[in-house]
Each structure stands twice: as structure tokens, then as C-alpha cells.
């Protein structure tokens, strides 16, 4: 069922920019058009481009947003997972809860003991 929805109407998640637009909806309550405009503006693309995996693969590569990976198209030097979310938070100018926690938990504290 999910596959049918994804093919019929989905933005493609990390294949394109669905995860980025979803983040603005989920944590900022932005409606779709507003969220697409916001993300497109930050990335220098059009809202139309956000669902296009051909355009967005290069854009994600450029910004270090994480990409679909497999052994056939390995990209070990690129940011992924929590690393990618640090870049997403900075470029989209949106605090991400787990990124803030990550920074907090990996920053030395006074006395060097956490």
C-alpha cells in the first residue's frame, strides 16, 4: 500500500526532497505550498524541482543532506544520517531536536566530565 501511495502521490522522501518539506510541516505546521516555497528558497531551486530525484540528488550532494545509498553508488565521503541532519538544520535554518541533543551531548563541559 505504501508503495502505491509513494508512486501515485508522494514526494519521494530522500530520493528527492520529501523529507525536507515534511520536516517543515511536522515541526513548523507549515502547509504544503508554504513548506515547498520555504525549502526551495533555501536551496535555490523551484518547488517543482523538490519532487525530482534527478535534480535533488545533485542538490543533496552539494549541501550534504544524505542520499539514497547502496553498494553500487557508495558515497562514503558524504554526510549521512545524523551528519546530514546537522547540515539540513543549518541550511534550512530550522532547529532539529536530535541535532541539538547531539551537539549538547558531544560538547565538552567544564571540568571535562559529563
Amino acid at each position: 500500500m505504501h508503495s502505491a501511495h509513494a508512486q501515485a502521490a508522494g514526494m519521494g522522501g530522500m530520493r528527492a526532497a520529501g523529507d525536507l518539506v515534511a520536516r517543515l510541516q511536522m515541526t513548523r505546521g507549515m502547509r504544503l505550498a508554504q513548506a515547498k516555497e520555504y525549502v526551495a528558497g533555501k536551496l535555490g531551486v523551484t518547488p517543482f524541482d523538490l519532487s525530482d530525484p534527478v535534480v535533488m540528488t545533485d542538490v543533496r550532494n552539494e549541501f550534504g543532506f544524505g542520499r539514497i545509498h547502496s553498494y553500487a553508488i557508495s558515497q562514503p565521503a558524504q554526510a549521512n544520517q545524523i551528519e546530514a541532519k546537522l547540515n539540513i538544520s543549518r541550511v534550512l535554518d530550522v532547529p532539529i531536536n536530535c541535532v541539538e541533543r547531539f551537539k549538547e551531548r558531544t560538547t565538552p563541559v567544564a571540568g571535562g566530565v559529563r
Binding site: A9, R31, G66, N97, F102
Partner: protein, 346 residues
């Protein structure tokens, strides 16, 4: 005499029937009128019926929205140990299935079950956030019924009501609401601390107006405590059952609310996403069901200030009540909802 061709189309139990274009159109009109009559909403326009007719009378195996009109899929239940570990399930949905957002949950999905394993679930969220990219929420269903005996501590209002012990039933429901609100906020506390992006109250209102009240009150508390934390509020049905009958939120009686008024209260409470639900009638065609569902949800779209993600899973939103919903029916429901309603997501 004209003999119309028949096209294969589906009943909402998933079985195929072969109907003419005229018969499908008649079902669309009837579904729309059923919604208008019951919920006092406007029926679909002739143009909308014609558009749905093109979708549902097509013999094509698959269809989709226009390029550029794609929406966000709020993929609930994506991390529930379906085929591997829960983190592997989340990564599978993210990497292979094109999920726009992810959801960690447990198979039971009930709040009262999860309240006993909060620390374990928070640890799992923490770990999952380190190895995923897509936004990741934690999902539960409030399932207020589990707070009643024999599963929970409150007297069982479903047993009291048939005995005419109305006041006792109401008191018990109110007691359960208080407990659920505490548990929902505590769950949000632990998940926020663990790094979750949002909380999802799924199938809200399955136990009627007390359950909807609990979700609204918990949402308001969470919004105040964590201004940047997402709260998705998804419903259990198109109509809030009056299991109590007198409960109000912000001066609005909850029993009997239809999707638009549900949305208005979700917005007022501070939800960041709203999921209206219209259950299917399995004795009718998917065409009848889609027209009814869209007519019921359409009033939401004019008043929404937050994203509206209409539910279109098994048994809701004109997707057949079958454990593996057929793709031809799923894609028709998705395209219809997006095209007519201009949804923010599904």
C-alpha cells in the same frame, strides 16, 4: 439501445465488480449526497464528480497526481518490527520506499501499553535518530478503552451505559481522561528528551469524545512545554462518538463533531498536523466511498492553517478494507484526494 462497456472497479471490501461508466457516476453522486445529507456539507460539484468519474471509470491499472503536485506522505507504523529490527524497518522505508517521514512505534500501539516501557522506547528513539535522515516521530493510539476494567483501573463505561448507570459511566470516563493526559504528556517528555521530531496521536477518538478530549488537552500541554515539537493528531473516524456526551474543549461540545470542527479544535490545541478520517462502507463501491470521503473532508481545506494529511490506509479514505489493499484502488484514492482537496499530505 446503447450498450455501455463495463470496466472493472472495486467494492470497498476489495472485490472486483464490473460496472458501466453511468453506474460508476451514479455511485459517485450517491456517495456525495450521502455525505451532504448526514453531515450537512455541500455535495461535490459537477466538475468534481466528472473528474472522479474519469479516475474511477478508467480501466488503467495505475494512476497518479500530475507531476509537480506531489504531497507529503506521513508514514505511520513504518518502524514497528514488520520484517527486521525497528531501526532497519525505518531505514528500509527511508532508503527504499521513499517515505517522507518515519514513525517509531510498538506493535500494540496503545498508550497504556507504551507507558510501561517509556525508557526503552526513548532509548530506541535516541538510537534511531542517529542513523536516519528523514524526520522521525513517535506514534501511539490513545485507545482510552484500555484504561477501563478489566484492562485498566477505571470502571468499564461500556458495561455501565447499558445498565443505565450514566453518571457512573461519565465519572469513569472523566477519570480515564485524566490518566491518559498524564501518560501522553509523560510519553512526550521522554520522547522529546530522546530527540524525537514529533508525537503522533493516531486513531484519536476511537473511544469517543473522552479520548478526543484527552488528546486535545495533552496536545495543548505539549505545545506550551515544547514550542518546536511536532504533534500530529489523526482521527479514528469521521464523527466523534458521544460516549460521554457532555464533554467540551474550549467551550465546544466534542460529541458529534465532523472533520472541519475536529480540525478547528486540533489547531486551537496546538497540533502541527491533522489527519481526518472517513471510514469505508464495505458494501458500497470505492467510487461511492471516495465521493463521500472527499465531500466530508472538503470543508477542512478552507479553514486549515496547519497541514491536512487525510488518512488513506486500509479501510479509510476509500482504500479497501483488505489487509493488502490493491494498488489500483490505493492510487485512485490518493489521486482523487489530492486533485480535489489539494491536500498537504496523505
Amino acid at each position: 439501445m446503447t450498450i455501455e462497456d463495463r470496466v472493472p472497479t472495486r467494492m470497498a471490501d476489495g472485490t472486483f465488480v464490473r460496472l458501466t461508466r453511468s453506474e460508476i457516476k451514479a455511485d459517485l453522486v450517491a456517495g456525495s449526497e450521502a455525505a451532504a445529507k448526514r453531515a450537512k456539507v455541500a455535495p461535490l460539484t459537477d466538475d468534481e464528480i466528472d473528474h472522479l468519474l474519469d479516475i474511477y471509470a478508467s480501466p488503467a491499472r495505475f494512476t497518479g497526481v500530475d507531476v509537480g503536485d506531489e504531497v507529503i506522505l506521513s508514514c505511520d507504523g513504518t518502524g514497528m518490527k514488520t520484517h527486521a529490527t525497528r531501526i532497519q524497518d525505518l531505514q528500509t522505508y527511508e532508503q527504499w520506499m521513499g517515505a517522507d517521514l518515519l514513525e517509531l512505534c510498538v506493535g500494540d500501539y496503545s498508550l497504556k501499553v507504551v507507558r510501561t516501557i517509556l525508557a526503552y522506547e526513548a532509548q530506541y528513539m535516541h538510537d534511531a535518530q542517529l542513523c536516519t535522515v528523514a524526520p522521525l516521530q513517535y506514534g501511539v493510539m490513545p485507545n482510552l478503552g484500555l484504561y477501563s476494567k478489566p484492562d485498566g483501573p477505571c470502571d468499564n463505561w461500556n458495561e455501565l451505559l447499558p445498565l443505565g448507570r450514566i453518571d457512573e459511566a461519565r465519572e469513569s470516563e472523566e477519570e480515564a481522561v485524566e490518566m491518559a493526559v498524564v501518560d501522553m504528556v509523560r510519553l512526550a517528555d521522554t520522547q522529546h528528551e530522546a530527540g524525537a521530531d514529533a508525537i503522533d496521536w493516531d486513531t484519536t477518538g476511537a473511544s469517543g469524545d473522552p479520548e478526543f478530549l484527552a488528546a486535545l488537552r495533552a496536545t495543548a500541554i505539549i505545545r506550551k512545554k515544547y514550542p518546536d515539537f511536532g504533534v500530529q493528531l489523526g482521527m479514528a473516524g469521521e464523527f466523534v462518538l458521544g460516549m460521554h456526551g457532555r464533554l467540551e474543549y474550549e467551550g465546544v461540545r466534542l460529541a458529534g463533531l465532523w472533520p472541519k470542527d475536529q480540525l478547528l479544535l486540533a489547531q486551537k490545541a496546538g497540533a502541527t498536523m491533522f489527519g481526518p478520517v472517513v471510514n469505508v462502507n464495505t458494501g458500497k463501491t470505492c467510487a461511492w466511498n471516495i465521493a463521500r470521503a472527499i465531500a466530508l473532508v472538503k470543508p477542512c481545506m478552507d479553514v486549515a492553517t496547519i497541514p491536512v494529511h487525510m488518512n488513506a490506509g486500509m479501510g479509510v479514505g476509500a482504500v479497501p478494507m483488505f489487509v493488502h489493499p490493491p494498488g489500483d484502488a490505493v492510487c485512485r484514492a490518493a489521486k482523487s484526494c489530492v486533485d480535489i482537496l489539494h491536500l498537504d499530505g496523505l
